[in-house]
Amino acid sequence: MPMVNIAGKDYEVDEEGYLIDLSQWNEDIAKYMAVEEKVDLTEGHWEVVNFLREYYAEYQIAPAVRVLTKAIGKKLGPDKGNNKYLYELFPYGPAKQACKIAGLPKPTGCI
C-alpha cells in the first residue's frame, strides 16, 4: 500500500488515495487530500467534512446523499441543502470526494 508523508508523519492510503486507518485523520491529511482532489477547502467544505465524520462515528458508514443534504441544509440554510450545492463543493461527487477528505473509506456499490 502507498504511504503519504506529511509534516514528518506517515499515513497509509489505498490505491485511490483513501486513508486506511481512520484514527490517523487530522486537518493536515484533509488539506493534503483536498489538494490532491483539486478542492479549495472553505467553511462550507469543512461543515460537510465534519458532518461526515460525526455520522460515520455513529453509524460506521457515510450518510446517504439525502441525509447529508438535509443536515447541511439545517446547518447552512435551506438554499444549501441540496445536491447542486454539494456538487459545487465537491464536483466529483460528495459521497466519494468528501469522504476521501474526511478520511472515510470510499462508499462503493451501485452508486
Binding site: E36, E58, I61, P63, V65, R66, K70, K96, T108, G109
Partner: protein, 507 residues
C-alpha cells in the same frame, strides 16, 4: 482524481463502427482485490508458482459444469457477425473488445489444452499457451465486458460472451487475481446485508429521514417499514436506492405505490440488497449464498409475496435464477423449495418486478395517477441490458419491453423511443454494468457509453427529450456520472418510479 486523462469520444449523428486500433485499451486495468477481500471470499490474493496448472484445472472443472462454456468455445466459426455489436468496441476501437476476440482470449487456451487440433497444430487453429501475458489480457479484457449479452442476440449460435467473461473471472479469482470492486462488494453484502455496507441502524435512520421528507412534501404519512413480520410483500431493492440520487426518488415511488394501494409491505435489514454480484463473477455458489439471504428473510418474515425494485442484474438473478438457487418461484417438488413455495401467494408471480406490480395496479384502477404532473418532462426509456436480454416481465415474451413503457406512458404524456437498433433486445448497455461501475475503469465506462449517448442525443435533438428513465441502479449511477462528459445534465436520468412518484395520487 488521480485517474489518467483520456479523450472523450465525439458524438456523431449515428453510431459509427470504428477502424481497429490495436492495444487502444490495453492499459485499462481495474484494481486487484487485496488480501483481506480475497481471504473472505476464499480465494488466494496472489499468483502461486503453480498458477497455470490451477487455472487449467479450474477451466476443466467449469467445462464439465457448464454446457454453455463448452459449446460456446467449440462452436464459433469466426464469422464476424458480433464484431461491431459491443459498445466497448464501438467506443474504444480496441479489437480485443470485439466479442469474438474477447472469447478468443479464452478459446485460444481452450484449444491448446483441451482440443486435439490445438494440441497437434496450435498455430493453424490459433491455439496459444497460457502465459502471464495471456493471463494479463484476460484480466484486462474480462473487466472490459459488462456481460450485457448484446453479442449473443446477433450470434448465429447464440454464443454469449458473458458466459465466457464469467468463467474467465472465476478462473482469475481462483488463482488470486480477483477484482477489488466486485469482491469487496460481495464481502459487504454477505457481512452487512447490502452492497454499500449500510448497517441496520444507518438504514433505519435513512428510512426515517425519507418518511419525514415524503410527509413534508405531500402531507401524507407514507411509511417505509422494515423487518415487519407478517407483512404481505417483501420488497428487495438495490441498496443504492437508500443512498444515492436519483435512486432514492424511485424508492419513494415504491413506498407511495404500496401506500396508495393499501398493500402491507416491508424491507429487510438482512436482505437489504437486491443486487447480486455473484452473477458477475460467474461463481454459482457465491451467487447462491447471496441469493439465500432473500429466501431466509422471506421465511423469517413470513411474507406472501416477494417484489424486486429497480435493478437490472438483480432482476436477471431474481427472475431467471432465484427459483433455481433458492426455490423462490413455483413448480418445485423438492422439500427445500416446497418449504418456501407453500408460503407464497399463488395469485402473483414470484418474484414479481415492481413495474409489473405498479402497472397492474394502475391498469386495474387500484391506484390513480395524473400524468399531467409530469408535463415538464419529455421522456425516453433506456432498456437495461439484463432486463432486456436475460429476463421477462408479464406473461408474454417481450413483456420486459412493453410493461415498463406502458407504465411510463400511464404516468407521463410525452414519450419517445430512441432508435430501434438501440432499444429492446438490441439495447446498448449503459457502459457500467457487470462489475465495471468503479472509478478505476472510468475510461472504459465513458467510452462504452458512447452508443447510448449517441442514441440519446438524437432524441434530444429531434424530440427535445429531457429525461431518460431506466430501471437499474447501475444504469442510473453510470449515466449520472458519464453523461455529463458528453454534455448532458446529470439530472436527466432517473427511475421509472421517480416518474410514478410524481404522478401518483395519495389520497
Amino acid at each position: 482524481m488521480a485517474a489518467a486523462e483520456f479523450d472523450i469520444p465525439e458524438i456523431k449523428d449515428y453510431i459509427e463502427v470504428p477502424k481497429l486500433r490495436e492495444g487502444a485499451m490495453a492499459h485499462a486495468k481495474t484494481f486487484i482485490a487485496p488480501q483481506a477481500v480475497q481471504d473472505f471470499m476464499g480465494y488466494p490474493h496472489e499468483l502461486a508458482d503453480n498458477w497455470k496448472e490451477s487455472a487449467l484445472e479450474k477451466m476443466g472443472d467449469l467445462l464439465g459444469k457448464y454446457r454453455s462454456l463448452k459449446v460456446f468455445l467449440d462452436a464459433c466459426v469466426h464469422c464476424g457477425a458480433c464484431t461491431d455489436k459491443c459498445h466497448y468496441y464501438l467506443g474504444t476501437s480496441d479489437p480485443k473488445n470485439m466479442p469474438v476476440a474477447r472469447q478468443d482470449l479464452m478459446r485460444q487456451v481452450y484449444r491448446r489444452y483441451f482440443t486435439t487440433a490445438g494440441k497437434l497444430f496450435p498455430k493453424l487453429v490459433g491455439a496459444k499457451d497460457l502465459t502471464k501475458d495471456v493471463l494479463d489480457d484476460w484480466y484486462n479484457y474480462y473487466h472490459q465486458c459488462s456481460e450485457c449479452r448484446r453479442c449473443s442476440v446477433f450470434c448465429p449460435y447464440g454464443i454469449d460472451t458473458a458466459e465466457i467473461t464469467m468463467a474467465g473471472r472465476e478462473i482469475l479469482n481462483h488463482i488470486g487475481m480477483g477484482q477489488k470492486y466486485s469482491n469487496e462488494i460481495l464481502g459487504k453484502v454477505q457481512k452487512i446485508g447490502n452492497n454499500l455496507g449500510l448497517p441496520g441502524p444507518a438504514l433505519l435512520d435513512t428510512l426515517e429521514g425519507l418518511e419525514e421528507d415524503i410527509e413534508a412534501d405531500t402531507g401524507v404519512a407514507v411509511k417505509m417499514p422494515i423487518d415487519v413480520k407478517g407483512a404481505e410483500v417483501l420488497l428487495v431493492t438495490p441498496s443504492a436506492d437508500f443512498f444515492s440520487e436519483p435512486h432514492v426518488e424511485s424508492l419513494i415511488g415504491y413506498a407511495k405505490v404500496f401506500h396508495a394501494a393499501g398493500i402491507s409491505w416491508t424491507l429487510s435489514t438482512h436482505a437489504s440488497e437486491a443486487g447480486n454480484f455473484g452473477l458477475f463473477n460467474g461463481n454459482y455458489e457465491t451467487m447462491r449464498k447471496v441469493a439465500m439471504r432473500i429466501r431466509d428473510a422471506a421465511l423469517e418474515l413470513g411474507v406472501k409475496r416477494i417484489v424486486v425494485g429497480e435493478c437490472g442484474h438483480a432482476w436477471r438473478v431474481a427472475y431467471s435464477f432465484w427459483n433455481t438457487l433458492t426455490g423462490i418461484g413455483y413448480g418445485a417438488d423438492d422439500p427445500f423449495s416446497i418449504e418456501l413455495q407453500k408460503q407464497l401467494d399463488p395469485n402473483y408471480p414470484q418474484p414479481q418486478h415492481i413495474c409489473e406490480l405498479t402497472n397492474d395496479l394502475i391498469k386495474s384502477g387500484q391506484i390513480k395517477v395524473d400524468p399531467s404532473l409530469n408535463d415538464d418532462l419529455i421522456v425516453t426509456y433506456h432498456d437495461s441490458c439484463n432486463v432486456a436480454r436475460a429476463s421477462r416481465m408479464g406473461t408474454e415474451p417481450g413483456g420486459q419491453f412493453t410493461i415498463p413503457r406502458e407504465l411510463i406512458k400511464s404516468v407521463v404524456n410525452n414519450f419517445h423511443n430512441m432508435a430501434d437498433d438501440t432499444i429492446y433486445e438490441s439495447t446498448f448497455c449503459c457502459g457500467g454494468g457487470g462489475g465495471l461501475l468503479t472509478d478505476d475503469l472510468m475510461e472504459v465506462r465513458v467510452k462504452g457509453a458512447l452508443p447510448r449517448a449517441t442514441a440519446l442525443n438524437n432524441v434530444v435533438k429531434e424530440h427535445q427529450v429531457n429525461f431518460m428513465a431506466t430501471i437499474c441502479a447501475i444504469c442510473k449511477a453510470q449515466f449520472t456520472k458519464v453523461l455529463p462528459k458528453y454534455g448532458f445534465d446529470m439530472s436527466m436520468v432517473g427511475g421509472v418510479h421517480q416518474l410514478v412518484s410524481k404522478a401518483i395520487k395519495l389520497d
